[in-house]
């Protein structure tokens, strides 16, 4: 019995210590990335391919995601709001949910899968095939050369893609609510305009900067610490998505609480849909 307890304690202790070491390691990785960001920016020929990969190549998938979120929101809300006779308020509900929450979070989740996994797999392969060691051996800093361009691409382009997802969601929601469910166009837009403000739009975009930074740091870190072999690269790609997704949700909760308290301070009376 004592031996089993001892083994359990040892196992849990190892898990806790490894967890603390990993968090500390990630923190150092993050600080080194930020320090290089302010020391010397990467060259244009290093930045542009990363901006193209993250921004341009993600456009179709993000646009599609945004459109479908808007349409699904319209379908889901319609039944409940019609029962209360509030179907004309649908525009406010769809657009508010989109720009404050679903647009940024689902766009970031989609990008963690598309961009984050690909970054982790690419850097992991470079680690396994000694390309990262080759960079260091030639006097190039791998964080500066590989991580900073990807970090900048995610930091600036994930918010831009979020704006695209928001826009396509608004279009998708409008199309389904007005053209298919037959809600009055004038009331749909009037209610949206009344309840969805610039603050709501900016709060969603503000969050997406943090999502972008988290996706870049976590994915590059997983790639840099990839285990050998094809299995190691596969695991790095999966872990990059899983940890990025969890981090997106945690950051979302934290920032939503913070943004709501700012909102309540600025507008103590708030707004009501009814």
């Amino acid at each position: 019995m004592a031996a089993i307890a001892h083994d359990l304690l040892t196992d849990w202790g190892t898990v806790v210590i490894n967890g603390i070491v990993a968090v500390g390691d990630l923190g150092i990785f993050c600080m080194r990335t930020i320090s290089w960001l302010f020391t010397r920016l990467p060259r244009r020929e290093t930045l542009l391919p990363n901006f193209y990969q993250v921004g341009v190549m993600s456009l179709p998938v993000v646009a599609l995601t945004g459109t479908f979120i808007g349409m699904v929101l319209a379908v889901q809300s319609y039944q409940q709001f019609r029962a209360l006779g509030l179907q004309t308020q649908l525009g406010a509900v769809i657009n508010m949910s989109l720009v404050r929450e679903l647009g940024p979070v689902l766009a970031a989740t989609m990008l963690a899968g598309r961009v984050g996994s690909s970054m982790a797999a690419e850097l992991g392969t470079m680690r396994v095939t000694e390309q990262i060691d080759a960079l260091s051996s030639m006097g190039a800093n791998p964080i500066h050369y590989l991580v900073v361009p990807r970090f900048l691409a995610c930091l600036f382009l994930i918010p831009t893609l979020t704006i695209m997802a928001d826009f396509m969601g608004v279009v998708g929601g409008y199309f389904f609510a007005v053209e298919i469910l037959g809600i009055d166009k004038h009331h749909y837009w009037h209610n949206s305009e009344q309840f969805v403000g610039v603050f709501d739009l900016l709060s969603g975009i503000f969050k997406s900067f943090f999502f972008g930074a988290a996706i870049a740091v976590i994915s590059c870190y997983r790639g840099f610490h990839c285990l050998p072999g094809a299995e190691g690269v596969g695991r790095a790609a999966t872990a990059a998505f899983v940890y990025s997704f969890v981090m997106i949700l945690m950051i979302d909760l934290f920032l939503t609480v913070m943004i709501n308290s700012v909102y309540e301070t600025l507008w103590p009376e708030g707004v009501s849909l009814i």
Binding site: P49, T125, M126, T129, E130, Q131, D133, A134, S136, S137, M138, G139, A140, N141
Partner: protein, 279 residues
Amino acid sequence: MKDSSPTTREQTPLVAVQNMHVTFGLQSVLRGVTLEVPLGQTLAIIGESGCGKTVLLKTIIGLVRPTSGLVRFDGHNLAELSDRELTRQRVRFGYVFQNAALFDSLTIGQNVAFPLRQHASESQSRIRELVFARLAEVGLPESVVSKKPAELSGGMRKRVGLARALIMSPELMLYDEPTTGLDPIMSDVINELMLRTRIQHEVTSIIVTHDMRTAHKVADRIVMIYPVSRLEPDEPQLIFDGTPDELETCGDERVLQFVHGEAGERLTEMQQTFSDRDL
């Protein structure tokens, strides 16, 4: 072709490894290794797979930090250097990786020009000129510059790796198993290139290999590393240090077993280890 001057060992060492230990987790890879490489010498480090040869090479260039002990390059303790100073020192090294480690996303021309673009302010036309000169030196035509590494054969990739390592005219060349995976003719081409590099560029070289032909043909000094797991607690890890001729007359059975490529009791030992583990 080799120039094994007897005075070489009396010169100031370019590389000095002092009582170095490297441990990964609980596994000790290098234990108390002490080694000096004088300027101009070509040293071959031999030993069986997994004995720590590559780790030693990576420690010399500062890619792996020693758990304890010192590595000095031209008098500089690499562990104490700032990032900027380490970068400046690394330009003095040329590292040829086992699988060439060419950047997949770049063309051959961009790969070879990479160190120049990072550190030198040469014009585009001068960079082109230098790239073509280095590629010609390793026997590659100008037409390869626009190709991607995946389009080349293993031997060609190794030669591109050598051209890239030479582009900054380094003082110390590090070769990690340069002939592994190549056919005998291409292996000898690489051996010839290493010899020519030494003569044309007057570099000091450290070659990690388990190819005895390479060690005999290129090196003027050979050291042999033995795996820590097979050593007694007080035994040194470098079990041989001498010239290629001395290697042939060495009395140590472990050295002779490696040189002559004899399995001995190894297979039985391995099977015993596995059956003990299964139990």
